[in-house]
């Protein structure tokens, strides 16, 4: 349908109203959002990821992520036969421009693993912050208070997953915020919005109607580095044992 000027005159006010209802206030003051009603997590469905890199690009655009650093990235694994202990892994520029094509390997398999901050319930990174500049919110998101952070990088060292970095210009710790500014307004994260196959899905564990509950009942899920006992809340469907 071609948008004509007549359509615009009708649509502009409607769009404005729709937009305003999305941009409703700060979470703790907002009547629409109560922090205690939510416990955020994410579900990543490995068999659905096609390694297109949309999520990495979308995150960079949404959150002004500096070049060379990543709030989310995609890794490509090549596992040969039973040799799970020695996968070949690449992540060219975090997978931002996708991956080079490969030919079929008769003896091995390939798959993609999107990674991001796991928003751990028992996060080792918030434990070590000397001043309280990084913390777990009441609704389960691990964020950095960039006005308070000293940039000591202790949290970067403490994260087992390599999801943190020091912002080169702001000189404070930076990481995935689970698009807190979006999820508190009823939107989904930028990476989930951009994913064309639904491999990434935001989930609210406290919402009984969230599809993740049925999914968890019917599938085999894993978290990264379970031996670290971090209470990671990013769940992977069908995660291979070779994933580091």
């Amino acid at each position: 349908m071609k948008i004509t000027r007549r359509h615009l005159i009708l649509l502009l006010p409607a769009a404005a109203v729709a937009w305003e209802s999305i941009l409703a206030g700060t979470p703790e003051a907002s009547p629409n959002y109560a922090m205690t009603d939510h416990w955020w997590s994410m579900l990543i469905d490995i068999p659905k990821c096609i390694g297109c890199g949309n999520c990495v690009r979308a995150c960079q655009a949404e959150n002004d992520v500096p070049d060379g650093f990543f709030r989310t990235w995609v890794e490509r694994y090549h596992v040969e036969d039973w040799n799970l202990a020695n996968p070949q892994v690449i992540s060219p520029d975090g997978g931002k421009e996708g991956f080079p094509s490969v030919a079929e390997d008769p003896n091995g398999k390939y798959f993609f693993v999107p990674k991001l901050c796991n928003h751990c319930a028992d996060s080792p990174c918030t434990q070590v912050c000397p001043v309280g500049a990084t913390f777990v919110t009441t609704d389960g998101v691990v964020v950095v208070d960039q006005k308070y952070c000293l940039g000591c990088a202790y949290c970067v060292q403490a994260c087992p997953y390599g999801c943190r970095y020091i912002h080169p210009e702001k000189r404070v710790a930076d990481k995935c915020t689970l698009c807190y500014h979006r999820i508190t307004k009823g939107l989904t994260t930028a990476c989930c919005e951009a994913c064309p196959t639904g491999a990434r899905q935001l989930a609210d564990l406290k919402n009984p109607k969230d599809p993740i509950h049925a999914f968890l009942k019917n599938h085999s899920v894993q978290v990264l580095k379970p031996q670290m006992a971090t209470g990671a809340k990013v769940f992977y469907n069908d995660l291979d044992g070779s994933v580091r």
């Binding site: 060379g68 650093f69 990543f70 990235w73 890794e75 996968p87 070949q88 892994v89 690449i90 992540s91 520029d93 975090g94 990674k115 080792p124 434990q127 070590v128 912050c129 000397p130 001043v131 309280g132 500049a133 308070y148 952070c149 000293l150 940039g151 000591c152 990088a153 202790y154 970067v156 060292q157 403490a158 994260c159 087992p160 997953y161 390599g162 999801c163 943190r164 970095y165 020091i166 702001k170 000189r171 404070v172 670290m228 580091r244």
Partner: protein
Amino acid sequence: MPGVEGFMYPNEVSLYWSVLIVLYPYVTGLVAGAFILASLVRVFRVEAVAPTYRLALLTALAFLLVAPLPLQLHLGHPERSFEMYLTPHRTSAMAMFGFVYLWYLMAVLTVEIWLDYRADIVALSQTTRGWRRLLYRILTLGSTNVSERALHIDERVGWFITLIGIPSAFLLHGYVGFIFGSIKANPWWSSPLMPVVFIFSAMVSGIAAVMLLYMALMRLRGQPIDMRCVDTIAQYMLYIFTIDFSLEMLDLVHRIYEADESFRSLDFMVHTKLWFSQVVLQICLGTLVPILLVGLVQVTKLSAPLRRRMYAVSGSLALIGIFAMRWNVVIGGQLFSKSFLGYTTYKMGLATREGLLVSIGFTILPLFILAVLVKLLPPWPQEQHAPRHAVVAGD
């Protein structure tokens, strides 16, 4: 990617803790070690090392004043560092820094120095002129009481301060070891042995530093070196070095034996990227050679000049070796990927904020401060008459 072998998580490629973070534990280690040497005199009554008592305290102070500087230069926002005093996070070992540092500086070291020097300070406040007179008068805190009773009280309180100073020194440096040892994400660091190894290697470095400074200063003043003193210091250095080396070897043997998921990656790293700094510099030149040299002195009869040379070489090698140990822990811990699939390279700048020149500056600065302290608070009697201990040529 340049400088990267294998696979690293994308955010791991650049190192976040630089040579300044290597320097910080090295400097606080020297402080703790020098203080332990001083406590040998005061608490354990090892009279032989008494000539180095005051020098050890001043050395500790000179290095302690410099210690926060590498940290400040490393922080992304040093102007916010006061937040550690405002809202220290109780679960963070690093949050202890501000308070442990302050406690050690104000409640232990400066009080002990002040109490030991008070008689001299009062005397100097009356005999000097100009700004020095004002400085000494401030240091007296307005009290000129140097009666026998007052000095006796000073001595008793000073003894007590030294006593609590020992665990304080262990805390000052041990918490740094815990900062690394408590990080489960990093298998090169995560170990309950880490604080203990840090403390023992700190003691070696501090003792070696005071021994070298004592010998150098005596040479500069044209005074004879008290051989009984340096022989005893070298002995203590040997004992503590042996314990330190045993602990490090225990860690190594344990790693090789258990061979957990991180072992192959770390083993490869030690054999390649850390070969020179760990095997050659830290273990062979920095630990085994000093232990052998000083050990040799214990079992053979050697002349005083030869012993002095061996102590000078051992002490210098020990200082280099302990620096290498800090380097291998801090830098080594960031060279390998937490995926155990790759390695990166540390690119140390030259004239940058966290570069080589700044590090060299921070290593030399305490010596300048020590020179000032030695001038203001002379460790030895001003008059050039007979030294307190008889010179014993070749004990």
